[in-house]
Symmetry: C2
Amino acid sequence: MKIAVFGLGLIGGSIAKELSTRSLGTVEVYGIEKNPDHARQAIDLKLVNSILTLEEAIEKCQVFILAVPVNAIENVLLNVLNNIKSHQVVFDVGSTKKEICASIKSHKNRSRFVAAHPLAGTEFSGPQAAILGLFDGKKNIICEKALSDDDAIETTLKIFEFLGMNSYFLSSEEHDKHMAYVSHLSHVTSFALSQTVLDIEKDEKQIFNMASTGFASTARLAKCNPITWTAIFEKNAKYLSEALDVYIVKMKAFKQLVDKIDTQGMHASIEEANQIERVLKGIKLNKK
Amino acid sequence: MKIAVFGLGLIGGSIAKELSTRSLGTVEVYGIEKNPDHARQAIDLKLVNSILTLEEAIEKCQVFILAVPVNAIENVLLNVLNNIKSHQVVFDVGSTKKEICASIKSHKNRSRFVAAHPLAGTEFSGPQAAILGLFDGKKNIICEKALSDDDAIETTLKIFEFLGMNSYFLSSEEHDKHMAYVSHLSHVTSFALSQTVLDIEKDEKQIFNMASTGFASTARLAKCNPITWTAIFEKNAKYLSEALDVYIVKMKAFKQLVDKIDTQGMHASIEEANQIERVLKGIKLNKK
């Protein structure tokens, strides 16, 4: 099987690496990459056999994986769907789904597209951030399953299985809403935490000496790529805004307890937060 | 040398474990622990030789380490200082320093006390959370150095060196202010994140399936012990409230950018947050 990966950053690069390294030659992986530095790195790192143009990829490959930033997916997807044949499959791996699905809803080749979102990543970016095992044991979401041909779903599921992922199905609306809370909000809390600490650090250098593992954990996502995340926030602005509203209310409520030095109130609030352990213990962490 | 550790939770237990296990018999470690379950666990886990009363500890030991919650330290410290001899040393390991130092400022035995704060921890608590290597390569802060006798400082530094820590010196006021930003605030951001996600989850169970490693990292501290952290927030309410104010302003500013779908503004804000990488790369993480 010949597969073309569009965009060889952290996610596209890691998929390419996994397919190139572990398929025992049964899969040939090609890249479509506009950034010449990334293209060169992907070749050097042996993530892909070679870099193709869109036309060459359409000619040569059976499966197209779109791993460009979410604000670029619609355009690339349209180009692919305009040229795709009935035996070919295209799926994306973007972190938002609703607008992407809406953009090609009435396309004559809609059924050759599968909307996917593998729930995996790190705070790093670019081909050099690509790692083996990134997807192993984690979950993949497929949206609007009914609008894709059965064989297209099957091919997509097989590739995610190869990556070690279990897939499940959701509407694109539900997907985007939940992601605003469990993923996109986390990133904004890290950005704001980072900015708050950097504000203080301007005058006082010893903050470098005082940050510990707890801070490292909560601020880790503040290192995330601005291009990737600005695009995601743009595409999911409505639900992210809702999530931010709820979150700011929680923060203000906790601040009131602190200001009143309300011991019982703080204790109860932390106990409420402790319940997240149920959720956290089910999450598979990245190997170091 | 005989050392008494007051409070055998995560921090006291880990110090006791390190001293008991790695001192080649040169240190005997005793525990003072009110919670009978914790006392039994500490014995079973061989963290300490035996459990003593305060009076027995004063009679037997040369060094007293106070690792009880910060709202209990003042009382225990006063009891120890009232009974301490000129060859004995007491230091605490609490996460706040100003009120503790103020409480014994005029005590006749003040100079036998050293105010310390080893910057290490995990999200777990109790004697069973005690681990070897928790302190290794991390930093310890000592406050109000000038008010402690030189030999008391020396003994304290030696113990932290044994734990693998470098110590440095700060006023208790500066300590508490910085900790509000780089440690205490991180915990509140995790609590609020956890509560926000749990609010949504009430109706919609699939959130369990959507939380990924990024969420796990930013919400990790939401598992922290409510007794420990309520006490810390009480003792550092003023500076924590200031830090929360700055943080809430940052969150609201980001929300405005999201609401306006201000691509350039979001990009610039994330780039600003990215600068935290300078700080993060200097933080030694816990071994897994």
